[in-house]
Symmetry: D2
Subunit: 142 residues, 4 copies
């Protein structure tokens, strides 16, 4: 299924805390930035992830992540995170990301994260129908 | 009041993730190590902080921290965290820490953290009496 | 000495990664936010900390930090970081911070960090004179 | 090529700082644990990654990571990290990881990281021959 919005952009500025002694951003932080990207995705389609979790008890448990590193990111640079939904159905959602240097557009990394919709008990739980439209989930008909 | 145990030791090995581009451990991580130290303090007096929180709904909200940095810590070094209780009563506890290089005993940092005992609602809540003895809290008598 | 600019504001949105199982921001992250605040302070006075470090080999080694926690910060909230210089001379600089909830202005934390100007060898080194004016360091005359 | 040592074990105890408001370990921290695992791998084959980097200027730039999450890890639990080399040649090394609960052996996650051997300039650089034996890299002969 195709979500109605294609790509949402978010920006982060590299923090000193995010660098390591190699003089570049420590690789695990890219996963944190992807999370920043997906929060903005929710906001762009009119939802707030915080409310999903707090009000409806829907958690997005991370099931799998993949990241390919192309070029290092450096302290105080601005990084652009482009997020789109690669796949979505009432049981799971897969976000795809492209991280680029905001100044020159050069690629920093690409990756994706797969999430299972869960209830407060952290067990798989179908996404309530009221959220389907915003994510472009349509009922299959004959 | 004086707690029955004086100083408890814990060890951490510096992770690459904890360094920054200055080539040393990023300063905020010392607070994480202090937390490692205080968890071991609880264990040494026969308590498990996890259980305090999970079973009795007691949270230790951080009220104040202070850290003085003496010498940098480097990647892959082992750091010794010496933790003791500086002050404790049914409303609060103050831990004091000394961080030293485990190899040569040289000082890395000193600091303290002050915590308020809270309930699950994160509001101040007196520490239940069953925990007083382990922490050396004694009832004042005339 | 008084710096020419009084208070500089920066904003961060609380990341999921910054929360802990108490449901609030983990306390060590406030130190990371203070760093975000002081980077913006440099920028506001016309300097870029990255360049200080990269071009002139000036490092700001953290010597001491203190933070007092007033109220928790929650996921996805926007936090305003107000940074000002409390004290500065060619050997050290002390930044003071006030963290408030950007939505309602309520206080989250206050704190300060003290830094020693160092050279690439991480030993104390006087701040070059060309930076004095921006920070309001004036030569004492009779 | 097959490295001489098959699997190396390391242990971490889950820190409070590593949890998030879902009450479990934040997913990006698994990458930090994998790094703990591979440092111990180096040590087990008689090398110290710190020395590789410091003395020979060899950096292991992360090129790709993948992690599959099976079950959550909780605060104060001990996690066992099993690390082995999946592939290695003078240009790259791929580590494979299995994270299990140390108490009951149940699976927490599996994953791998691929690294390119680089020089101090962060450009690809063949691993010096003196390290080949420890990693099981053998010269191909007719």
């Amino acid at each position: 299924m195709k979500p109605p919005i294609h790509t949402v952009e978010a920006r982060v500025r590299v923090r000193y805390a995010e660098t390591d002694q190699m003089g570049v951003v420590y690789h695990a932080n890219y996963l944190v930035w992807m999370e920043v990207g997906r929060v903005e995705y929710w906001r762009a389609v009119g939802l707030r992830y915080r409310d999903l979790e707090r009000d409806d008890g829907i958690l997005l448990a991370v099931a799998e992540v993949q990241c390919r590193y192309r070029a290092p990111a450096y302290y105080d640079e601005e990084v652009l995170i482009r997020t789109r939904v690669g796949e979505v159905n009432p049981r799971m959602i897969r976000f795809e990301y492209e991280l680029v240097n905001a100044a020159d557009g050069s690629g920093i990394a690409t990756g994706w994260t797969k999430h299972i919709f869960c209830g407060r008990d952290r067990r798989p739980h179908r996404l309530p129908e009221k959220y389907h439209a915003a994510l472009g989930i349509v009922r299959k008909t004959k």
